[in-house]
């Protein structure tokens, strides 16, 4: 998230810069330059797809990849990663990463070999690092695929623990949350890119979203999980948490633990505020907070499946897997809903382009 944030900030600066010096000739980079992208996982009802929404919300264009390339992405579109001018669309059931121009969405290439249920990708230099679950029936074959972005070939595979999910790069190291694929896990892997040495930090169960806060700590959201007996009656819960990890010592320096039975699934950082959810309620805390919030700032609608924040605007996705989903935007200050737009089937992620 941090990377897309940085990129989006840069893009925004570029836009501002461009608009300030409107006299000079700055060619638009493509139809999808001044807005944000929403990826939808897709389902049997409709392909995984990307929607474009202009910054002023006047223009909403669904299925932009299909429109430009006359082809569908398939299911399930898990995530998108970016470098300066390309977007890497990760579709897990297809074992495919489709490379497009991030502003025109014209296809530039694809990676279809040596991926096995790919989930997320981080970009550093001319390398991409992709988390892969491997076989559905093997918890020990999970890996990070190292992709040469010049050739679009997987160069190496770094074995890691079960169910690697989100991945970010920072200072020559990769940080990977292990949500546990179809089972469960409770680690964050720290991989030194040069040596490929993998270290593990234990957090609460099912870690997913992660980013660096302004203090340079790694912030990880763990959902915790529900425990069932043989008859699938709920017999208990493991706890969820927002864990802050000191990356020098790899110690969890601060852990904000949720109440039993609360299972947050979404978290995002904007400036110095962390936004997270419990069910449909959105909460906000400072990124150095030592306790969780008791006051929901906004209640999202429907099947709350994706979140982003930009300034005062809180973006929430009400995902629908048998139909188009809905993007609802709220003003954090007034709590009013300012926008509502129909977007991709199974919409899950928002990226400021």
């Amino acid at each position: 998230m941090k990377i897309t944030k940085l990129v989006s900030t840069l893009a925004l600066i570029t836009v501002l810069f461009a608009s300030c010096s409107s006299e000079s000739v700055v060619l638009p980079k493509g139809d999808y330059e001044t807005g944000f992208l929403i990826s939808g996982e897709g389902s049997s009802a409709g392909t995984g797809s990307v929607s474009f929404v202009s910054n002023d919300f006047d223009l909403v264009e669904n299925l932009i990849y299909k429109k430009v390339n006359l082809n569908e992405l398939g299911s399930f579109l898990q995530s998108i990663a970016f470098d300066d001018d390309k977007a890497f669309i990760v579709v897990d059931n297809q074992n495919t990463i489709t490379v497009v121009d991030r502003y025109t969405f014209e296809k530039r290439g694809e990676i279809t070999t040596n991926l096995f249920t790919p989930r997320y990708m981080a970009v550093s230099g001319n390398k991409g690092y992709v988390t892969n679950w491997g076989s559905a029936s093997d918890a020990t074959d999970d890996f990070i695929a190292v992709v040469n972005l010049d050739s679009n070939m997987v160069e190496r595979m770094i074995p890691v623990g079960n169910g690697p999910e989100r991945i970010i790069e920072n200072n020559g190291k990769l940080y990977v949350s292990h949500k546990g694929a179809s089972t469960t896990n409770n680690i964050v892997s720290v991989i030194d890119i040069a040596s490929e040495v993998v270290q593990e930090v234990i957090v609460k169960d099912n870690p997913d979203e992660l980013f660096f806060n302004n203090q340079g700590q790694l912030v990880v959201l763990s959902s915790g999980r529900t425990i069932y007996d043989a008859n699938w009656n709920v017999t208990g819960n493991t706890l969820g948490s927002i864990s802050m990890i000191d990356v020098a010592s790899l110690a969890v320096s601060n852990e904000l633990v949720f109440a039993s039975g609360e299972h947050p699934s979404l978290m995002v950082l904007e400036n110095d505020t962390i936004y997270y959810n419990i069910g449909n309620n959105v909460y906000a805390i400072n990124d150095t907070a030592t306790s969780l919030s008791n006051t929901s700032i906004i209640e999202a609608e429907g099947y709350f499946y994706g979140i982003e924040v930009q300034g005062d605007a809180l973006f929430t996705l009400n995902a629908n897997f048998s139909d188009v989903s809905v993007l609802n935007v709220y003003s954090i200050e007034t709590k009013a809903k300012t926008q509502s737009k129909e977007v991709a089937v199974g919409a899950s992620k928002i990226y400021f382009n």
């Binding site: 409709g46 392909t47 299925l63 569908e72 297809q94 029936s137 093997d138 188009v324 089937v345």
Partner: protein
């Protein structure tokens, strides 16, 4: 006799509209007995389309393909040979019941029958009955029922018949079946064996890919045995074993990613004792059925998910005829105990007792009617009373009228109730009220049946996220949707013989408007128009046929978004055969078939193209 032979030789389009008598094949004074008496005897006012074994043997690709070209049912198939579900009169997949020798065999786990998870070429006859049938067949008989029948034949003279059919086709497809039939006056035995295998790696039209990971192989054995223990009584045994392995093919744009495998292992046994004397008929049935699937998320791994069910059932019926009243009253009592488990659900037991009564009456020579009522007592939930009424008028000037109305149900499946962490034990059965009115025209060689139908379904089970406020974000099944289906069905056939030439034509058309009542949008995966037809021509030893299917566009989203539709398609097959030897003791014919002769690029599920033009050669040897 001639007509019968014609059917066998033309071998494609023998449609019996409104057949009230399945065992019409009484040439040579033979007696044909089927286990599913009720389809023949208790269908007053219903439309039945019968597919004889000659048609089954010409459409051996799959159960799906057979019905797609011969019945007014829409099939959604995840690539040829993959998961396949039916929509009959616009109803959902669990609302079409498949009946094996009188027993509903829809899966207890999913409520459906996978139309590529069994093969049907060994059956003697398949009947397709449009309309509700929960009274006779229980849960899921809402859109219609599909009846798979093994027939037992008794002949005055002892006869032995062997039939061997083999074919080879595109995509490394090999099929073979062998049927052995022995009949005498009091004894009948049928043994059948079939084996099919295919690489199924057809070209995905418009792409550089083939259908990857789509191979399948399966084998099926059936034994059917009948013995007349006395003039009045008979003992029958039906047994079948099926084992199939399929790989699940991938979808575009990268079908090579597919890596899963699926196994079906089914076994069905049924013992029937019947006694008919004077005006009383009695029947006692015992059934034992097992069904198992194994799903391998990774075909190279030994780990799999599974579902396993065992079903014990017993059924007693007694019918009393009142000849002076032209009426019959019948009582059916059934007890069933089902044990089901999956890798995620510990074994559950569902018990059900059902009692139904039927009253049949003929009024003068004007019309006849059925009144039926059924009550189920189920260990898991309350099942509403089912009711049905059917009326059939006498033919006047070649025209007759028929009508039926019924209340039917579909019970929640084990998956709905117990799916790990997501099941909902507060579900109630879906119910559907339905009605139908039809006009039948029947003259010599021409049959036409036109009907209008209406289905009003309530409490349809839908899986949604956040359905249960106690489980936020979790997908759970809820009794949510109310739907209304209306439509028109047309079925017609025509046969003409001049000299050595014979022509048969057959047309099925269904117009369906199926809507969600709350949103007033069309239901997903229901085409408004569906038309299939076939034409056959025979001259002496040479036969030719042509069959075609048109399916209208379907929406794939609940809101009917124009961005997500499956386009209409038109697909056609041609074929022919030549009789090399044809005499009293043996018949040998060779045949060919070209499927998708116009090489149409079509899908029934997005990103999963169906097979391109493909060829098949077959030999049929009967002795």
């Amino acid at each position: 006799m001639k007509r019968q032979l014609l059917f066998i030789f033309l071998g494609i389009v023998t449609n019996t509209i409104c057949s009230q008598n399945v065992s019409t094949g009484t040439i040579l004074k033979e007696v044909v007995v089927v286990a599913d008496q009720r389809i023949a005897e208790n269908s007053t006012g219903y439309k039945i389309r019968t597919l004889k074994d000659s048609i089954l043997l010409k459409n051996t690709e799959s159960f799906t393909a057979l019905l797609r070209f011969n019945a007014p049912i829409y099939f959604k198939e995840y690539g040829a040979g993959g998961t396949s579900t039916a929509s009959f009169r616009g109803t959902s997949a669990s609302n079409t019941a498949v009946i094996w020798n009188g027993i509903n065999i829809n899966s207890i786990n999913s409520g459906q029958t996978g139309f590529n998870s069994l093969t049907v070429s060994l059956f003697d006859q398949i009947d397709i009955r449009s309309g509700g049938g929960s009274i006779e067949y229980g849960s899921g008989a809402i859109g219609g029922t599909i009846h798979l029948s093994d027939a037992l034949v008794y002949r005055p003279k002892k006869t032995i018949q062997n039939q061997f059919v083999a074919s080879v086709g595109s995509f490394s497809t090999y099929r073979g079946l062998y049927k052995f039939k022995m009949s005498s006056e009091n004894f009948s035995l049928k043994i059948g064996f079939s084996y099919n295998q295919s690489e199924n790696d057809y070209k995905l039209l418009g792409t550089r890919f083939k259908n990857t990971n789509g191979a399948y192989h399966n084998s099926n054995t059936t034994v059917t045995f009948g013995y007349r223990t006395s003039l009045f009584s008979q003992l029958k045994l039906y047994s079948t074993n099926y084992k199939g392995t399929r790989f699940f093919s991938g979808e575009l744009p990268n079908p090579k990613a597919a890596n899963d495998k699926y196994k079906d292992i089914n076994q069905r046994n049924l013992l029937v004792y019947t006694h008919e004397k004077d005006n009383i008929s009695q029947e006692l049935k015992f059934g034992f059925l097992t069904q198992e699937y194994q799903y391998f998320g990774d075909k190279d791994s030994d780990n799999f998910n599974f579902g396993r069910t065992k079903r014990y059932l017993s059924n007693y019926s007694i019918a009393y005829r009142l000849p002076e009243w032209h009426s019959t009253i019948t009582s059916y009592s059934e007890y069933e105990s089902v044990f089901g488990k999956t890798d995620g659900i510990v074994e559950k037991n569902r018990r059900q007792f059902s009692q139904s009564f039927e009253y049949q009456q003929r009024v003068q020579n004007l019309f006849s009617f059925d009144i039926k009522v059924r009550k189920d007592l189920n260990s898991d939930f309350k099942v509403p009373v089912s009711l049905a009424l059917g009326v059939q008028s006498k033919k006047i000037n070649h025209v007759s009228f028929r009508a039926n109305g019924s209340k039917n149900y579909r019970v929640p499946t084990f998956n709905d109730l117990y799916w790990p962490g997501q099941g909902n034990q507060n579900l109630i059965p879906e119910t559907a009220m339905q009605g139908e009115f039809g006009v039948v025209f029947k003259k010599n060689k021409m049959n036409i049946d036109v009907s209008v139908f209406y289905i009003d379904a309530k409490n349809k089970i839908v899986w949604i996220p956040n359905g249960d406020s106690e489980r936020p974000g979790v997908w759970t099944p809820m009794n949510l949707a109310n739907t209304e289906n209306r439509g028109i069905e047309l079925a017609s056939n025509y046969t003409e013989v001049f000299g050595h030439h014979a022509v048969t034509a057959n047309v099925n058309y269904a117009y369906t408007i199926a809507k969600d009542k709350r949103t007033n949008t069309f239901l997903m995966f229901v085409p408004k128009h569906l038309l299939n037809s076939s034409f056959a021509y025979r001259f002496k030893q040479v036969g030719l046929f042509y069959q075609q299917l048109f399916t209208g566009k379907t929406f794939t989203t609940a809101s009917n978004s124009k961005d997500f539709i499956i386009s209409s398609f038109f697909v056609a097959n041609i074929g022919g055969d030549y009789s090399i030897i044809q005499n009293k003791n043996q018949k040998v014919s060779i045949g060919f078939k070209v499927n998708n002769v116009f090489n149409e690029n079509y899908v029934t599920q997005p990103r999963r193209p169906m097979p391109n033009r493909n060829f098949n050669l077959n030999i049929n040897y009967k002795f």
